[in-house]
């Protein structure tokens, strides 16, 4: 469904609020994977507020669309979206990382309502997505499974085993999204272990690759529309993003892969978000 001006503004506002919450979580938790949470904030926002057919009042509804955060370390971005969507109270996010909390650095489906799959060990999610896709097809269920990966994560061989299967089984009900922020822990992806020609690799594996700016809601809409209506080849959305997006001193800064911050730094971070994104 094409996006209206109004809808776009609503999504941008939601994403701005989400980013502010991500900063709160960094402070409350004592430290988080802030960079990779901010880079996928727009992808998460458009999924949960435009595309995914889910019902927070009925989180285990059988026909719901599934979402797998294969780059599980971005829980600090994902769990606040679930709160925003209404799965639980936003105030509960204050317990993040602390003793007995359902929320840790990586999402746990045994503990977090609305989280379909536990993740955190990179390179697992896409295989599980393939399994959900095969299961849905066999059971004649209408739902889609969306799997979000990190680009560094694609160093794992298992990602490509899964990709081969999704393509082989023609699982158009599985939508693969890669958050291409070009950084991992030890540096730039192209310095640590080069992924390029990245798009060509996915094409060679049989995917319909849609390359977009992962912060642009028009392009995100076009990509997800195409993915949702795919019938021939599974779609892989190659979302070019900026690690740390929205906080000027974190953008493209590898130091903010994982960081802790005191309230002063968090205040500065929020000011930056409001300066660049709060105007709408």
């Amino acid at each position: 469904m094409p996006i209206t001006q109004e809808e776009r503004q609503m999504l941008e506002k939601t994403a701005c609020e989400l980013r502010l919450k991500i900063v709160d979580v960094m402070e409350w938790s004592g430290g988080s994977h802030i960079g990779g949470s901010l880079s996928c904030a727009d992808i998460l926002t458009i999924l949960y507020f435009k595309y995914l057919n889910v019902d927070p009042k009925n989180p285990c509804w059988e026909d719901r669309d599934r979402f797998i955060l294969s780059k599980g370390h971005a829980a600090a971005g994902f769990i606040p979206v679930l709160a925003k969507k209404g799965y639980f109270a936003e105030d509960e996010l204050r317990t993040f990382n602390h003793f007995g909390s359902p929320f840790a650095m990586h999402p746990d489906s045994n503990k977090v309502v609305g989280c379909d799959v536990s993740s955190g060990s990179l390179g697992h999610g896409l295989s599980i997505a393939a399994g959900l896709g095969l299961g849905a097809r066999y059971l004649k269920k209408p739902y889609k499974t969306v799997c979000l990966l990190g680009d560094g994560e694609c160093c794992e061989g298992s990602v490509w085993e899964a990709a081969m299967s999704i393509s082989h089984f023609k699982l158009t009900n599985v939508i693969t999204v890669v958050d291409r922020n070009r950084l991992m822990i030890d540096g730039k992806t192209e310095d640590v272990m080069s992924l390029e020609p990245f798009s060509e690799k996915w094409k060679a594996f049989g995917f319909d690759v849609v390359e977009i700016n992962g912060h642009d809601y028009l392009q995100l809409t076009e990509a997800f529309d195409r993915a949702w209506s795919a019938t021939e080849r599974p779609v892989m959305i190659l979302a070019n993003t900026i690690k740390g997006k929205g906080v000027d001193f974190m953008e493209n800064n590898v130091v903010y892969h994982y960081a802790s911050a005191d309230s002063e730094v968090c205040k500065k971070a929020k000011e930056s978000i409001l300066r660049t994104m709060g105007g709408m």
Binding site: N97, H98, H106, D108, E153, I185, D186, M193
Partner: protein
């Protein structure tokens, strides 16, 4: 104040540095005299602190990206080429993600790959279950040819990392994430792989511990002396495989009550290794394994989890007291009585 041998930091630093920091610096030091040492990691150079070696020897360090299976395979290849690879990632990925590469490529071929695995046990508690690792001792010790070491602190990590070079085959050294307080004040003690160290003398009871549990056990022993007048021996079983049978048999003979403490599932860990030595001895003994009771730990910072799971001095004291209340069956053949 004693400096750590051949290095340029002092015991004071050792007291404030994490075990992984000390590991990275020790390895960088070793690289100067041993040109066969090479390093590999999987996008965790900074995190595991092997980065110190990387900085000193960029030409013999390889970061393979986030690909642990590939990393272990490459380590095997480097070893086949005649080198001594040190491979570092988190324990959960070293032992499980790349488990078969470790078993078939490294252990089966008996290659001198030294796996230094960080964030073991529940030391990375707030990361959640995907990053906890309470299975690695069990997995690694069941691989033939593999030596398994769990140092008590940073200084002992440095000792183990130095010593593992002389082991001809593969070695797995398991360290935490952490900021745990040190056990040793200096390097001035005898460390030998496979030889346990008595940390506190005792005749009524023995605690056999490894890793972070060693310091907590010593503290428990001191409190039990003061408050209960109990004489508790504490054995640092830093090498889980090969296990020091003599130290265990001495404990059976001298104290007849043994508790094992480890940051690991009680199934398959240090406790099981000790239990099989006791069972094989034919001697009666009051025995208990303490650790994670076949469960996945909850979420929380490590210190909170250690106290919740009774892996701190208080928890250990409770275990010892309850075992002191247990009775033996009469045993006429018990020659020492």
């Amino acid at each position: 104040m004693t400096a750590v041998t051949g290095t340029n930091w002092t015991a004071y630093d050792a007291a404030t540095m994490t075990a992984r920091e000390i590991y990275g610096r020790t390895l960088a030091q070793m690289g100067k005299t041993n040109e066969k040492i090479v390093g590999v990691t999987a996008d965790l150079s900074k995190t595991t602190a092997i980065v110190h070696f990387e900085k000193a020897f960029p030409d013999r360090f390889f970061n393979v990206g986030i690909a642990e299976q590939n990393m272990m395979g490459i380590a095997a290849g480097l070893a086949k080429a005649g080198l001594i690879p040190f491979a570092s990632t988190m324990a959960v990925f070293a032992s499980m993600r790349a488990g078969e590469q470790v078993r078939t490529d490294i252990a089966y071929q008996n290659l001198p790959v030294k796996i230094i695995a960080t964030h073991a046990g529940i030391s990375f508690g707030h990361a959640g279950t995907t990053h906890h690792c309470t299975e690695d001792i069990a997995i690694m010790k069941s691989m033939a040819n593999m030596t398994v070491i769990c140092p008590a602190d940073g200084i002992e990590t440095s000792k183990a990392v130095r010593a593992c070079i002389d082991v001809p085959g593969p070695v797995y050294i398991r360290i935490g994430r952490g900021f745990e307080p040190p056990v040793y004040e200096s390097e001035g003690y005898n460390y030998k792989i496979g030889k346990a160290i008595t940390m506190h003398e005792g005749t009524d009871f023995t605690i056999i511990a490894c890793g972070i549990a060693v310091l907590q056990s010593i503290q428990a022993a001191k409190t039990l002396k003061e408050q209960d007048g109990l004489s508790v021996r504490v054995v640092n079983m830093h090498t889980i495989k090969p296990i020091d049978e003599e130290a265990i048999l001495d404990a059976v003979k001298d104290t007849r009550r043994i508790l094992t403490v480890e940051e690991h599932n009680i199934i398959g860990g240090l406790g099981d290794s000790v239990a099989s030595v006791i069972a094989g001895s034919g001697k009666g003994c009051i025995f208990k394994k303490h650790g994670l009771y076949d469960e996945y730990a909850t979420i929380g910072y490590a210190e909170d989890l250690y106290s919740h799971y009774g892996l701190d001095a208080n928890g250990i004291i409770g275990q010892v007291r309850s075992m002191m209340g247990m009775e033996f069956e009469a045993d006429e053949n018990w020659e020492d009585e």
